[in-house]
Subunit: 307 residues, 4 copies
């Protein structure tokens, strides 16, 4: 049986994302204590897959995930899942809105629900915890020190809590993107609507390095969907690039672009080709389809006389 470690504890947004993924069906789901621990367990072989958040519409990229993937034994993304960040107020049986004096939750969650709390529970104070689901878990035990938790809806089921109010976040369009990881070597088949994720380490901080990188993509009609420069852990002012592009490494245009990057970068870390969560197929311009590449290759062989 496949085992998948996810960013726990039980009842986290990561677990909620995992339930949406087909790959999780029939798998053994194991909560991990942190992103770093989940990646380590996967690298050691203690799990077959790991599911961690990588990008959040409000907080931006999850730096520990991006950085954790950029060093150490190579891992690859094999699937992605985007879920809305929706907060639920939950409490043990017998506790109603009137009984709530303190609420346990993660500081980010309390920040994102502050309007609702101010309006609906003006007297309540908030106790910060290491995660939203830890708050729900604590409530299920005696002596939590607070009467209610703000946590993902899934945590109410898991910890046997009652839902007092649903979708109480201030921003109803917030979302988090999660990725399912495997050890390098596994490559999902092209789906026709794929994305490829890369980490690029530059040879030196020379002006124009970013233009060179982008040209390797654009000359072959490969579009980027995300890019960010990230400081390396080594020193101030030393950067690498983390990016997503459309297409699958088995596409001719993507493969040639990656080979081009390999030639001009100090290092290229391939972080996987996988189906896009939204199924949107890329617009492939004239001249860069697999057929165009095959025709050009054949023509080249003919003029080289080795056709």
């Amino acid at each position: 049986m496949t085992s998948i470690i996810f960013l726990g504890p039980r009842g986290s947004f990561s677990e909620a994302a995992l339930h949406e993924l087909q790959d999780s069906q029939g798998a053994d789901l194991v909560p991990g204590g942190s992103v770093a621990q989940a990646l380590a367990a996967l690298r050691r072989g203690d799990a077959d897959r790991a599911l961690v958040p990588i990008e959040n519409s409000i907080e931006g990229s999850v730096a520990t995930t991006l950085d954790g993937l950029s060093v150490g034994e190579p891992l690859v993304i094999v699937a992605e899942q985007v879920i809305p960040v929706s907060f639920t107020l939950m409490a043990p049986a017998g506790i109603g809105m009137g009984e709530i004096r303190t609420i346990g939750t993660h500081p980010h969650a309390s920040a994102q629900c502050s309007d609702w709390v101010r309006t609906n529970l003006p007297q309540a104070s908030v106790i910060p915890l290491t995660s939203t689901s830890a708050a729900a878990a604590a409530l299920a035990e005696a002596g939590a020190g607070f009467e209610a938790a703000i946590a993902p809806r899934i945590a109410a089921d898991i910890y046997g809590l009652n839902i007092l109010a649903d979708d109480i976040g201030d921003n109803h369009e917030a979302w988090t993107r999660f990725v399912l990881l495997a050890r390098a070597g596994y490559l999902p088949a092209p789906s026709g609507a794929d994305k490829t994720t890369l980490t690029l380490f530059m040879r030196a901080d020379h002006p124009g390095a970013l233009m060179e990188i982008l040209t390797e993509f654009s000359v072959r009609g490969v579009n980027l969907t995300r890019i960010e420069s990230r400081p390396t852990r080594k020193a101030l002012g030393d950067y690498f690039f983390s990016l997503d592009c459309e297409g699958h490494v088995s596409d001719a245009r993507v493969g040639e672009a990656l080979a081009g990057l390999h030639r001009i970068c100090a290092d290229v870390r391939f972080l996987g080709s996988y189906p896009r969560h939204d199924g949107r197929q890329p617009l492939v311009r004239e001249g860069v389809t697999d057929v165009d590449f095959r025709d050009a290759e054949q023509w080249l062989r003919s003029i080289r006389g080795d056709g």
Copy 2:
């Protein structure tokens, strides 16, 4: 007297950064509850300046700052300060290492000091708080519920605590970059070693948009030092770019690049030109100095016959 609101409470890394900035001398320093509150106070005119974190070597960009600057009344960066992220273990007089059973601090800080704590205080448990300085503040009062705090060194002074151990973070090269903000309209004079920060909203998500942006810089010899695509709050898949480039808006090459961006972007938000914290002067290639621009302008006037 100038008033500066900073990300509090008192004793925070923001306050430590502020002490390093010349602009803070003789100013009235006011702690703010959050980045959003600091920006709002500045926009309302309740403060003359605001100091907030914008980038962290470990966590990456501070999304609330980037996003808070991207909407609302325009603000500009007028100075930047980078300080090492160094953690200190502190406790009230009379408490030694042997007495510590629980430590109050922010979850990020406990994560970054976990090696030291595991080795030196293996029995201690950690209580999460909304900030490191809030932990120090609580210790100064009776009934904090913990014996020690992990906080910036400056907090020990402010709250009259003893330092038990210094620089206990696992990563001794971690740093945070802070920016001093003003309402739009104030522009620091060029120092010869400046940076300019921009937010660019694209007209539509067309392939090649990023190449077009970068070309406006590169054709005028302006180097980027940071770039990231950021989802807008509106909808999934809708991005804007946040970036820093070398030079001052009053430099001819930077000004012409900004005008070029203004023409091709849906919106360009100018977030300030200000001295680099490291004083590194840009290498300006032949053909893009202010003198080169002036000569070319003069030549153009002569061939247009309006010389």
Copy 3:
């Protein structure tokens, strides 16, 4: 009265082109012995304008014109005219097809009429002359040494010859482009459908020089309609570029592109902005109209605080 020197002798294609140009009405038309002599006369002030060929659909660019404009006192193109290269067989009164044994003409013309001559005058031999119109002129005198000439139709009128056959060239789509030149300083008003001609001397033969040049145009949405690298007279392997672009130097996008070229080239020679012979208006993409430039300039002044 305006005097215009053209590439003679009388009856040449240059004179035919001149008759099509509005600028020639009422002017004193003076035949010149060569392109170099026409340019020299204009530079000395012996003429107010010069009309010479610059490009031919069959022979390509007229090197003596391109090179003659690239050195010496600056001249500018103020108009262009394209005319079909159409050849006419002509002879003095009393000479019919049956009497023709030898034909005088320029070697290029005989090459371009060889099919017709082989078919219609198989026994005739061709005598090479320095120009087609010189052949017609010689026929008008006694003792030309040949019975007929292949020359532009206009030469028959001028020299009182009969037309025996019209449009006898093998290629009925051949054309020549002529330019009307003035001394630098005169600039035709923008017509809305203009072209600008330049000669660019590079600083050194570095890879990527051509890309840099083209980027100065493309980043400002200026399209090229002709480009060629030309060896300088100095040494083998030393090149300059001769090119035409769409638009008028008074257009903001063209002016800024020219200023950009001035900064990166060893020398830029402005060879004029003038109405296109075909009146085709350029497609100006969003972001590079004069209004866009003015708006961007105004915005830049506002953020620089000198608005």
Copy 4:
């Protein structure tokens, strides 16, 4: 025995160039009447090679050669030769400077020797002929109608004429580049200092087409040494590009660039890879050597899982 047709008649600059080429040793050298006839003879198989001029430092590209290679059965350049354009005054035995009243030569040659003739033979008139060597040939027969010829030095040997004055051209740095052609299929082995010649037909006259072409070269570190837009014979305003780049089609970087061009152009005509006449080796930047391409290809196979 190999037969080579060259642009005649005997004693032409083409023949002089041919004598410099190793490929001509022991070959049967056949004069052709024109560039078009030489290409046609090669295409028909009446000759194994053809030698024709392609570029002249004074006149620019030889349009009939460029255009003749761009259509019809494919031919390829297999060698190039550059020779100085040096003119010699020659006459039959018994004729001295004092006897010369008329000089036979090609109009281009008389133009290029006009200073010398005006100074040294002020009374002499010039009779235009179809080529310089035709003038020398005529002198060797009775009744040429002129006493001396201006022709390449080699013509004096061939036609048994005396040399009266050598190197009489006004420009002592003029040169002509000749190319040796074969039917497509023959490819010279890489010499380490090669050039590749191409004709590119564009899909449509869209702005940016030239940038796209140049990017295919520059992204792979391939430098151009010549480029010109040429009108197609079809219609006014319809252009193709003729260009030379450094390197051999068997070089990985050149091959990939050509395949890229094949994908974006309506047609790419490969006109050969051949040793440069000057033996100058290209500077190949880091990342585009054959080894770099091989390494990248291997890495790509490994991440695709078909290594």
